[in-house]
């Protein structure tokens, strides 16, 4: 990090007032030349897994080799996830704002020579509009980006998350300064109440109301009160919170400090999933840099308010995303939930009043304080204000992170922003809310995505995973998948969840083998309702959602399994057979070489056949065949 103390021309880096912070921002901005070229490489987890660190290294080497004059030497900046994961590794060139996709280390010499030195774009690396094939130059011309409204994600992909000066240049911590110097705690709580913000973790409880109840609890029971960030993003297919923690850790921290001030907490906790090492690292860096500047710790901005925070790494238990389980985990014990006769705002961590909010909720707080509750309440729809970040994954062209105002339709997100299903056919269903959510079928594609409309459709907002399914996906298989997941993750404390989910999964196992009857479907529904009514925590009560919604919208497919012993999507192993189409087979024998059971035979350059009696239906032949000759029926 550049020494911010030098900018302030004093040895003690600590900022002593809101004016100090504003002065630091001005000094950082003045020291930067907006016309200086800059190469921005996405170091989100998706792009990194796709090799972006190698691109960064190659760029550094190529720039040194090119011997560019130090004055015009471009800076290289690595940022959090820019969102368009399926086109990664992504590289942006400033000041022109050129957007390059799928950049490989071998492309960097050309980028340096043609774009940096000669100022011309490289067409091959530009994004092409799918309808016309026309290349576009900048991010703003790409539908994936320009149909979004990026508010929570506004800094991500632009700032270096490991350098607080970038955050401060972008206006970071000004909402905190405003809260500490110009508002009393009561005013902060009132602003959050007026904003209409609802918790982004899944259930959508009004955040302001939660804070108010916590204040009432403190009035009764006294301090301490704790504030906690739920960063245990466990829904498979969800990576919104990880992206926020990795790409803009100060936003979460600033929100938490504002909340602590409003609620009178002096200790906070960040509970982060252990599978997110980069998020943990960036939060640690952010905490230490904020501490050095006097934005965290003793006497923040000389306001007299002090606050400390600690990171707790999760240890791989999905149920710890549930509030009471998360608290027991912070206390060092197995994360078993407890009944909520007394709500956790009154009796949470160590039996004290506690406010637990999700990462995205905390990241919204500085935006509300900085821009005002009226501005925020004007976004989205009346009962679901603001925006929501979704991770759009599965059978969709533009896999990535999407932020839209609440109330945008599924069609807008999946078809317009997501570019629809790769083969151009309509999607079959969209699964929202992860293992606790449900499947919304194509005919309901105009359902607005807000807390209440999704619940009405039998699903839920959840944390924001949106999984697109096409005709090749079987609803019975998806139901089994989620049930098996929850069965493994159930803590086992209450019977409806522990045994109920197992029995439900066994019924679905039977369906996948073509066993069972129509009555079994009815039994499954009544068992599901018993689990919903009887389970102790939200893991159990919401677990039947995927099965119940698929029965509601895709009953025919369930009937095909039990009545006709047929899996229409061609997924359930025991109901399908693999065969080679002799018209399409070229006899290349690559499938035969890969077959683990040696059951494919045939003469060279003649159509091959699969011995159905020996076939274990592993699917490797289909995956291997370049001519699409292996068919499933």
């Amino acid at each position: 990090m550049a020494n911010p103390g030098t900018a302030l021309k004093r040895e003690d880096w600590r900022l002593k007032s809101a004016q100090d912070l504003a002065a630091l921002q001005n000094q950082i901005l003045a020291s930067r030349d907006p016309e200086r070229p800059e190469i921005v490489v996405c170091h989100g987890s998706g792009c990194m897994a796709n090799g972006s660190p190698k691109v960064t290294d190659a760029l550094r080497a190529a720039l040194t080799e090119a011997g560019i004059d130090a004055k015009v030497m471009p800076g290289i900046k690595t940022t959090g996830c820019q969102g368009f994961c399926s086109r990664g590794p992504l590289v942006l060139i400033r000041p022109q704002g050129l957007f390059y996709e799928q950049v490989k280390p071998k492309d960097v010499t050309e980028i340096v020579e043609r774009t940096i030195m000669a100022g011309e774009p490289i067409e091959r690396l530009l994004y092409k509009l799918p309808e016309t094939g026309e290349p576009v130059l900048t991010e703003q011309e790409i539908p994936f980006y320009n149909l979004q409204q990026r508010i929570v994600l506004h800094n991500i992909g632009k700032i270096d998350p490991a350098d607080i000066t970038d955050t401060i240049a972008a206006g970071g911590y000004q909402a905190l300064a405003q809260a500490l110097t110009a508002m009393d705690p009561e005013q902060v709580v009132a602003e959050i109440e007026k904003s209409g913000l609802r918790g982004r973790g899944g259930a959508g409880f009004p955040t302001g109301r939660k804070w108010r109840s916590a204040l009432n609890a403190v009035a009764k029971k006294g301090r301490p009160i704790y504030v906690v960030v739920n960063g245990d993003e466990g829904d498979p297919g969800a990576f919104m919170d990880r992206t926020i923690m990795e790409g803009d850790p100060h936003a979460v921290l600033e929100g938490l400090i504002i909340g602590a001030y409003a609620l009178g907490a002096s200790q906070g906790y960040l509970y982060v999933r252990a599978e997110y090492p980069l998020a943990i690292k960036h939060l640690e860096i952010a905490m230490s840099q904020a501490r050095e500047l006097g934005l965290l710790g003793e006497n923040i901005l000389n306001s007299g308010f002090s606050f400390e925070v600690q990171i707790n790494r999760g240890a791989g238990a999905f149920v710890c995303g549930e509030s009471t389980a998360l608290f027991t985990s912070i206390e060092g014990k197995p994360g078993n939930p407890r009944p909520k006769y007394v709500r956790s705002v009154e009796e949470g961590l160590w039996g004290r009043p506690t406010v637990l909010n999700n990462v995205e909720t905390w990241a919204n707080i500085p935006l509300i304080i900085g821009n005002g509750s009226d501005w925020y309440a004007g976004l989205g729809v009346p009962h679901s204000t603001g925006t929501k970040v979704f991770s759009l994954v599965g059978k969709v062209n533009n896999v990535g992170l999407v932020e839209v105002p609440m109330g945008a339709t599924i069609s807008r997100i999946v078809e317009e922003i997501g570019g629809g299903v790769p083969d151009g056919s309509p999607f079959k269903a969209v699964q929202t809310g992860g293992p606790s959510g449900g499947c919304i079928p194509y005919h309901l594609k105009n359902t607005p995505v807000d807390f209440d409309s999704l619940t009405q459709a039998g699903s839920m907002m959840g944390s924001g995973a949106m999984i697109v399914m096409d005709e090749g996906d079987c609803v019975v298989d998806v139901g089994r998948y989620f049930l098996r997941f929850l069965e493994e993750e159930s803590c086992g404390k209450c019977l409806p969840c522990r045994l109920g989910l197992t029995r439900m999964r066994e019924i679905l196992d039977n369906f996948s083998r073509g066993q069972g009857s129509e009555e079994d479907i009815e039994d499954l529904i009544s068992l599901a309702q018993a689990v919903q009514d009887g389970a102790l925590c939200a893991l159990g009560t919401s677990a039947p959602n995927p099965v119940l919604t698929t029965i509601r919208y895709f009953k025919e497919e369930y009937l095909a399994h039990v009545r006709d012993r047929r899996c229409p999507a061609g997924v359930c192993k025991e109901l399908i057979t693999y065969a080679i189409d002799p018209e399409l087979c070229t006899g290349c024998a690559s499938c035969a070489r890969q077959c683990p059971n040696n059951c494919i035979s045939g003469e060279k350059k003649k159509p091959h056949v699969i011995d159905a009696a020996l076939c274990i239906r592993c699917g490797i032949c289909k995956e291997t065949c370049k001519f699409d000759a292996v068919k499933v029926s």
Partner: protein
């Protein structure tokens, strides 16, 4: 052994001796040794001031803790929803056939540990397999077989070199 004890002491001393730091200690032990041995569990529980039963209750509740040594290479197949839809279960089956172990188990020669992980959040690259710490995007059974062959080859060379040394 004394070196081992020293490193353990260092971990213990970096946390206050309070029950809420038990998970922190176990995580550090696991990060350093790949698993939690009986000796280290005794020490951690002693330091945190909790009974041994609580130590094992914690270690068996949370998925990330292991009580037996890990193989030289760890193969983690992502079984997140996006990876599942793109056939990650078939990859697990292929690995089970090839390595002769189930997820959570280690091969007898301690070369490979097979695991599944709920979601690594790299859904754009589904199906993803994480070999040691490297993400392998868009995996297929064929690519996996190749990858294993390379790892096997490296191991053979390692053993040979050690033999010469």
């Amino acid at each position: 052994m004394s070196h081992y004890a020293e490193a353990l002491d260092e971990i213990m001393e970096s946390y206050p001796g309070q029950p809420e730091y038990l998970i922190f200690m176990l995580q550090d032990i696991q990060a350093k040794y790949g698993y939690i041995s009986k000796e280290s569990m005794l020490l951690a529980c002693d330091r945190a001031g909790v009974p041994l039963t609580q130590g094992y209750s914690v270690a068996t509740f949370y998925q990330s803790f292991r009580l037996d040594p890990k193989g030289e290479h760890e193969i983690r197949v992502c079984s997140g929803t996006a990876c599942h839809l793109k056939g990650s279960h078939r990859l697990v089956e292929a690995l089970e056939r090839r390595l002769g172990v189930k997820p959570g188990e280690t091969t007898e020669d301690l070369r490979f540990t097979l695991n599944t992980v709920n979601c690594v959040g790299a859904c754009a690259l589904a199906p993803v397999v994480v070999v040691d710490e490297t993400y392998q995007p868009n995996m297929s059974a064929k690519k996996l077989a190749k990858q294993l062959k390379t790892l096997d080859h490296e191991l053979t060379i390692d053993t040979k070199e050690q033999g010469h040394g």
